[in-house]
Structure formats: C-alpha cells, structure tokens
C-alpha cells in the first residue's frame, strides 16, 4: 500500500525552507557549495541552488556524487576504495552542503563523506535531507530537514521528483 505523506506543494515548501535555513545558518551564501547524492539528491540540490540564485542573484556550484560503490552495507562489493574524486570543483575552504532525499541509517552519508575526501579540506560540511525517517546506525544527523517522518524499519520511503518520476512527492510503501 502506498500513502502520500508529502505532496508536491509540501515538497516545494520544504525545499524553500531548507534554502532559507541555509542562508540563516551560513549568514549568507559565501563559499557555499552544494553536493547532491545521486540520483534524487542531485535534483534536490539543483532546486536549492536555483532558489539561492533567485534570492541572492549568485550561482552556487552543484556537484554530484555517486556513492553506490562506497556503501559499507554491500559487503559483496568489497569496498572499492574511493579512488577517483568525482566533483568538478574543489571543496577546499568551502562550506559544503550535502543534499540527499532520505536520511535513514546514515551509511549513505558516511560513504558520501568518504567520497568528498580528496577534494581538499572544506571549511565545514553540513547535511540537508528532504526526509529524515529515523533509525540511525551511525552518529550522523542532518542540519537541514524537510520533514521528519517517523517510520517502521520495514516500511519503504519513496521520494519522487518530476525530473525522474514525472511528479513530486513522498510516499510510504508498506
């Protein structure tokens, strides 16, 4: 069964609020770069960047990370070490904001942090997620949260974005 818990309007608002919070917490957007985690995190990062551009009239770099190779919960793919630095720009001295759709165990984010290494030493790394569904297995928390959605472990959260799925929304599938 599927149940929509965030509709397109609420998703739009969540991204808007996250954008404002980024400005609030960084006292502006100086040195801010966004890094989206593939697939949907990238589109979310691009939307946040577009919003920042609207407000501040400045282009924010958006990087893309593919971390499927780095996750430690796929023991069969024996950790191919993060060999190649994936971003087209350096994160040295930047305020990096990682963007992902769902924060769950925290393992994706840990892998993303690994993948960021090698791009220089950032000033800071913060995390923005559209949905925080709890059940963390690592000491990781999000700085910007679209919506907290308490879930059971066996439930699935499906985030849809127009670019990939034809519509915006978040559904719980059980």
């Amino acid at each position: 069964m599927q149940k929509e818990v965030v509709d397109s309007m609420a998703m739009k608002r969540a991204l808007t609020r996250i954008t404002y919070e980024i400005i609030e917490q960084n006292k502006g957007i100086r040195d801010v770069v966004l890094v989206g985690i593939k697939t949907r995190g990238v589109y979310l990062a691009q939307r946040i960047a577009a919003r920042l551009q609207q407000l501040e009239d400045a282009a924010i770099p958006v990087g893309e990370l593919d971390i499927t190779a780095f996750r430690d919960d796929h023991p069969q793919d024996v950790a191919s070490a993060p060999s190649d630095y994936q971003l087209t720009f350096s994160v040295a001295d930047k305020r990096v904001i990682l963007v992902d759709d769902v924060l769950f165990t925290g393992r994706t984010i840990r892998a993303a942090l690994d993948a960021l290494m090698g791009g220089g030493r950032p000033q800071s790394i913060a995390l923005a997620v559209l949905v925080d569904r709890g059940h963390r297995e690592l000491p990781i928390r999000a700085d910007f949260i679209g919506k907290n959605i308490p879930t059971a472990r066996q439930e699935r959260i499906k985030v849809s974005v127009t670019e990939v799925d034809g519509h915006d929304g978040v559904e719980i599938i059980n």
Binding site: A10, K12, R13, T16, Y20, E21, G28, R51, L55, N148
Partner: protein, 360 residues
C-alpha cells in the same frame, strides 16, 4: 428608498439611493475590485473608518452568511454600490445585506456610477467622503472639518487577551485588528492560539511559551502606533518563529529599519499577479493596502524580499536573513480571494515544528 448623496472632499457629489442605516457618516473612501466576498470585505477591520466602494455592480446577492465574518463588529463607515440586491431570503437563510447594515448602523448608498468613482479615486488617491441626505455647502464644510482619528488600531483591536484553543502548536497572535481568516487558518492547523492586545510586551508574550508569534492585520498607518510595538518585535523575532501579515508586515519591516510609504494607487482586490521570488512562481492573493514598504530603505544584510507585486513592484513579503521571521503584505487566508497563498500558513507551522525539533 430615499435619495442620498455621496460627497467627496474634492467637491464632487453623487446622487444615489440610501440603504442600510440612515445615519450620516464620514470616512476615507477607497474602491475594492473583488468580484465576490462583500461580507468579508465589509467586516474586515482594515477598513475601519473607511467607506468602501465596490466596483462589482451587484452587491448583496447572497445575503449575509454565518461563516463569512472577518470580525464581530464591522466598523466601516459606509458601503457604496451600483446596485444592492434587496433580497430577504437566500440559500443559507441569514440576513440580507440591507438588514445587516441597519443592525450595524452602517449607511449604504446605491445607484452610484461606481466605475466613474473608481476612475476618479484611481487618479486622486483616497479622499475623505460622506454619505449625507443633502449635498449642500454645510455638508461639504462638515466633511472638510472632520478629522479622522489615527487611533484605528486602538479602536478595533481586542483590549483583553482571549484564547482560541487547539491541540497543536502554541501560537500567540498579536492583534492589531485581526481578520478572522488568520484564526481560521491557524485552527485548521490545530494551533492552540492566544490572542493578545497589540500593547502586549515581550515578557507577556514569552511567558506564554509560544512556538511562534503572529503579528496580525489591522487598519491605518503603521507609524501611528507606539514605538513599544517595534521594540517588542525586535525582541521577539530572534527568539521564536515570527509571521507578520498586512499591518503586521509593515511593522516588522519598520522594526528592522525600513520605512513605510503611502501607496498610490492603493491595492484593494485580488487580481494582481504576485511573484514569489525564491521559486519565481506567480500567485494571486487578496490585498488591502494603503501603505507599502519603501524598497530603497531595506537593509539587504538583514532582510530578503520574498514576494513582489508585478503590477507596481511593491514589496509583498520579507524575511529576516538570520532567523525564521517573515512577513507578507497580502492576506494569505483569502477571505475573500484566492486560496493559493494559504500555503504560507503551512510554511509558518513547519518553521515552528522545525524550531521545536523532531518529535522522537
């Protein structure tokens, strides 16, 4: 029905027919272009001491309904229409507009060339006007001599706190003459609301341990309010999420260093396209404003412009850079008017939820 006159400060007079109360009254005349919602407009306290001319020609056609009040006791000074529907029954079986205005001691005048009046007011800006029985020199002298109060907020805001209970977030609404739509929207979102008089101090507000504070709509010129209001806003805005509407928005801007200017022509209707800056989307919302934030006086290190009227570029929304305090000039609750801006109430609720942190 008796012949009556609408006379204007500039010496013009319109012959019409009286309805509602037979009283003689004086106020500032403005025109409103909304197509529906005369009851909401008449009962909106932003029109305290004003005479409203409706451009929609037939007013009163569905009577007065119990769920369309925006205040308990309307304080407009008059209603000017081309044609009033003199019906004594309607689908919801409430009062007719004529009966209602009689009860509330508000005069109305019909058979006015409201299109011409609107064009006249568009050129001149609002003027003093009276609804009178005789349009003689004496009447014009009286009109000229009338000084309209600048204490509108004191006249319409609640003198005492009152609750509007709910089971959710705890919200304090500071009342400058609020329209009920604000309470309606907060109730829909289950908020537990306490309405405080506009004289409420920072301490009185904080003592209620609010999750968020709303500065309400209201009548008049924001500069006429005591400075203590601005101090209160400055003290509150960085402590809890703040949401300011209409007059509240103008006060929020002033508290953060911006100046307020007289707007001419004024906005009274729901037909202007408004751009939400962050998404570049265009929305429509109910407006009732005679003042606007002067864009040149905004400290861009402090405030972000969030909404802009695409007709004349007036600022329709602001947000503090460093904390969740934001404001809109338009009426996001509609009532009457488009409902697409109601979303801003969700934004406020979500800001409060976020400030409180997750519930697990």
């Amino acid at each position: 029905m008796a012949d009556r006159y609408l006379i204007l400060e500039d010496g013009s007079a319109y012959l019409g027919e009286g309805f509602g109360s037979p009283a003689v009254s004086t106020g500032e005349i403005v025109f409103n272009t909304s197509m529906t919602g005369y009851q909401e407009i008449i009962t909106n306290q932003i029109y305290h001491n004003q005479i409203i001319a409706f451009t929609q020609p037939t007013i009163g056609s569905y009577g007065i309904n119990h769920d369309s009040y925006e205040s308990i006791l309307p304080t407009v000074k008059g209603v000017v229409v081309r044609d009033v529907a003199s019906i004594s029954t309607n689908r919801q079986r409430r009062w007719s507009l004529d009966q209602y205005l009689k009860q509330q001691n508000i005069p109305g005048i019909s058979h006015i060339d409201t299109r011409h009046l609107a064009k006249q007011l568009r050129a001149s800006g609002p003027m003093k006007a009276s609804i009178v029985d005789v349009a003689d020199a004496h009447a014009f002298d009286q009109l000229g001599a009338t000084v309209l109060t600048n204490q509108q907020v004191a006249a319409v805001a609640t003198p005492k706190p009152f609750p509007n209970p709910g089971t959710g977030l705890n919200v304090v609404v500071v009342d400058f003459g609020l329209k009920h739509g604000i309470l309606r929207e907060l109730s829909k979102r289950a908020c537990n609301v306490t309405v405080l008089p506009y004289t409420a101090t920072t301490e009185e507000i904080i003592n209620l341990d609010p999750d968020g504070v709303v500065l309400s709509t209201g009548p008049g010129k924001p500069q006429d309010l005591p400075d203590s209001v601005l101090t209160m806003i400055q003290n509150i805005q960085n402590r809890v999420p703040l949401f300011a509407i209409g007059l509240g928005h103008e006060l929020f801007a002033m508290a953060n260093g911006a100046s307020i200017m007289k707007l001419s022509p004024e906005h009274h209707g729901a037909n202007h396209p408004i751009r939400e800056v962050i998404t570049n989307q265009i929305i429509y919302a109910s407006q009732g404003q005679g003042f606007a934030v002067d864009p040149a006086t905004i400290d861009r290190n402090k405030l972000i412009t969030t909404f802009v009227d695409l007709i004349d570029g007036t600022i329709q929304g602001l947000r503090f850079r460093d904390f969740p305090a934001f404001s809109v000039q338009f009426f996001p609750d509609g009532a009457p008017g488009p409902t697409e801006a109601r979303d801003v109430f969700d934004e406020f609720v979500e800001s409060m939820q976020q400030a409180r942190g997750p519930i697990w």
